[in-house]
Point group: C3
Chain length 170, copies 3
């Protein structure tokens, strides 16, 4: 079982890259979506993405409890978590302890065939807003911890992957 972290900016093509890898794996694909349909626009967007993926994909909604969603992924499936950074934002809004939730995620990741999508958000100017600074710190820490646990890590820019980490052949 292998896990791959796909890191990139907004509109870098990271979700599309994850979908292509899942489709190419030959396994039954499952989307674990962290987005919440909080308004009509968001609900419409979620429905459109689901339609675009097609009937082969099943979708699990997990704005907060990623370990529970991962527990439902079968051995013959491959899951895409899209995305970790929105999950961090959801955890902060719900006043959860991001470090502890991340430890549970790392535990639940084991023994699953998994693609995790995350935003890199720390490469701009320091945000003036204190909450945005805290979010940037939390998201960066989660990315580091998941990257350390993952077998593969790629950075995507303009739809093209750069390998940051690859399994060593032994």
């Amino acid at each position: 079982m292998t896990s791959t972290l796909i890191l990139g900016g907004a509109r870098s093509g990271k979700s599309a890259h994850a979908l292509r890898l899942a489709e190419a794996s030959g396994r039954r694909p499952a989307m674990i979506a962290t987005a919440q349909a909080l308004d009509a626009e968001m609900a419409e967007r979620i429905a459109r993405h689901r339609a675009e993926r097609g009937a082969r994909w099943r979708t699990l909604e997990a704005p907060l409890d990623l370990p529970a969603a991962l527990a439902q992924i079968a051995a013959e499936e491959i899951a895409v978590i899209d995305c970790l950074t929105l999950w961090v934002s959801n955890l902060m809004l719900a006043e959860r302890d991001v470090a502890r939730e991340t430890a549970h995620l790392l535990e639940a990741m084991r023994e699953k065939e998994l693609l995790l999508v995350a935003n890199e958000v720390g490469l701009g100017i320091v945000p003036e807003n204190a909450l945005a600074r805290r979010f940037r710190d939390e998201a960066g820490r989660v990315n580091q911890r998941v990257a350390a646990a993952a077998d593969h890590v790629v950075f995507i820019a303009a739809g093209l992957p750069l390998t940051l980490k690859a399994p060593t052949i032994s």
Copy 2:
């Protein structure tokens, strides 16, 4: 004929890298500038850049119509488009359809020896301003489409290029 997309942040050295590649090509260089002299400071900056490039370079100004500028590039020339991200901003201000204009650009790129400079703008915190978010999305989509069409793509940080895409030797 080959096209190269040079992607990077603000003050990453991406324009200087494009100029060096153009100078080293042995071809007659042309600058297709998307900046507009909307005020005295900008006019002075444009004039200074033109003087720095020197008399070997010809300059075409194309804030909106890149395909018309590319149509003027001869077979023995090499053109630098600097930069695509400002072009996206100009198109949005002029209320043009960015997706359609990008399709025309991709068509016009063929059969030209071309270096395209673009900013990666999606690696910071989500902007609070809705127009900035839309700009970030449009710029990211243009980068993906141009990267898919280009023969080479490099990402520049601190003046140093990382190869994202290189032609396959056949």
Copy 3:
């Protein structure tokens, strides 16, 4: 004597990477810290970092005068400068000439075993604040000049290094 520039975003793991490289070098490590204890929170953070590094490390505080700090580094030591981007911010607040100070730094870097940590801050949306835009430009220029002078340059994302520059084996 070799110098390495470690470039990355906020919470990318760049400081931890520099500390690990210094520890692994076998040399006596020195931290040249550019942070200033301007308030109680900052003083507490600086003290905590110093305690975490342990007694093997000596610490020099150099918010402005990096060349004077480098002059104190002995031949058998390895120094970590953490970080250049905060130094640029300190210079701007003190109304120093960043380009001139950078020239002095490049001179002082020679003949020292050195790890320099810097933030990449130019990969987000153009800041609305004029001072933030000037800071972004100054920080980017410093990164380019130090990268040109350094023997090694790495870009860190999610704790993982990508090589931007490596010495040529001769």
